[in-house]
Amino acid sequence: MNKFVYADNAATTKISDSVFNAMLPYLKDNYGNPSSIYSIGRDARKAIEVARQKVAKAINAQPNEIYFTGCGTEADNWAIKSTVELLKNKGKTHIVTSEFEHHAILHTCKTLEKQGFQVTYVPVSEEGYVSPKHIEEAITDKTAIVSIMYANNEIGTIQPIKEIGDICRRKGVLFHTDAVQAVGNVPIDVVDEKIDMLSLSGHKIHAPKGIGVLYVKRGVPLMNFIDGGAQERNRRGGTENLASIVGLGQAMEDATTGLEERCAKVSKMRDRLIDSILTTIPKCRLNGGKNRLCGNVNISFEAVEGEALLLRLDMQGICGSSGSACTSGALDPSHVLMAIGLPHEIAHGSLRLSLNEYNTDEDVDYILEVLPKVITTLRAMSPIWKG
């Protein structure tokens, strides 16, 4: 039987034992409604507030600045839509973001453009970085919010968040960051980095799917996202996702414990993977610069199409991801790869492998054993491979 290597941790992660064990009581015996006054309800409320404290501590926020959401996308939507809605009467109708944000931001901005808001999409460099200078130039007296992702989900590049935060604070503009990929990989300090709003998602850090967070700095105006009960300080009605919130609290605590050592171990595997692929497989290139997430590998292979590559790797038990148009059902390859200037034909043949602490050196060995053979096979049947 083939070995199984999961190298798509940027897509989702498995629930860790500590998270699972923390959640278990709240899935079965401790089922009280956190809004109920009797003891099992009060216990549930307490568990939520403990989780809120853990999340807050992990990013140097205050517990009352943490709002639990259904996912990172919801947090992104809430941050942007709330800000422009509340500030439009002050003439703040402009948003600044980048060309290679996650669709949770880009599609939100496109929706707002249809409603009359203006959006500036700043370009990114070939290495995959947003320039603080471009952000500063894009801000006008109408700008309500700047939203720049902490780390890119495809090519893993870590953005100059502190510099952008400084600019926004100086210019009196709110700063939101989608930190879904960064949490658990990069130390985050919302105070030091002058972040006003931050989105994160549980399932990228070994918590379950269906739970996220929006951090909102105290004093930043926030519109109700779901009207209903008094949950989340009246901002997001609906009975809380108790077990998942408890799981997320545990995951955030785990994610910030021993982060440096964990990332050092993962970086070592990442670098070995990148160096070996670039050395042993001809006509391929690394996408994204060196300041990247500790587990991110994104490489384009000439004359190979990404979906076919993923399927062949899957046949050998390796799970990865691609910027190929074919994997999304669209016709154009990934907007991220296009934003960093890759030609279509190269972008179609990109592979993202995202490692984490559950991966091993043996996993890397296996990928390095299988990948060159798969590339050779696909190139052998490719009419554009000139070998």
Partner: protein, 141 residues
Amino acid sequence: MIYSDKVMDHFSNPRNVGELADANGIGEVGNAKCGDIMKMYIKVENNVITDISFKTFGCGAAIATSSIATEMIKGKTIDDALKLTNKAVVEALEGLPTSKIHCSVLAEQAIKAAVSDYYKRQGIDPTPIVGDIEECHACHA
């Protein structure tokens, strides 16, 4: 997106892959920009396609459609080969996701392109027989 077992079979074990040394008709369609290129090689003897092979740069569906199309016309007359429609290719593969239907169109066009090349090599104008081979609309959407 879910592929049928038949698609996965042809993707995993593509039939008739490679170049055909003694081909007397070669056709290529698609472009690298849209992510799919199919190249078909045919050997025609006495109006019958006695051998066929392909090379494809593309997704799982592109490789599977190329593979099954070669099987469907091997041993057939040119007239029968030209009757192969993309719909028949999709049916033979037990379906394709909607976004992959254009791959079956490419397979049909690649066969026509190879037959056109065969006629040209024989000094025959292929247009009245094969018709125009339109570029894939999906590639230019």
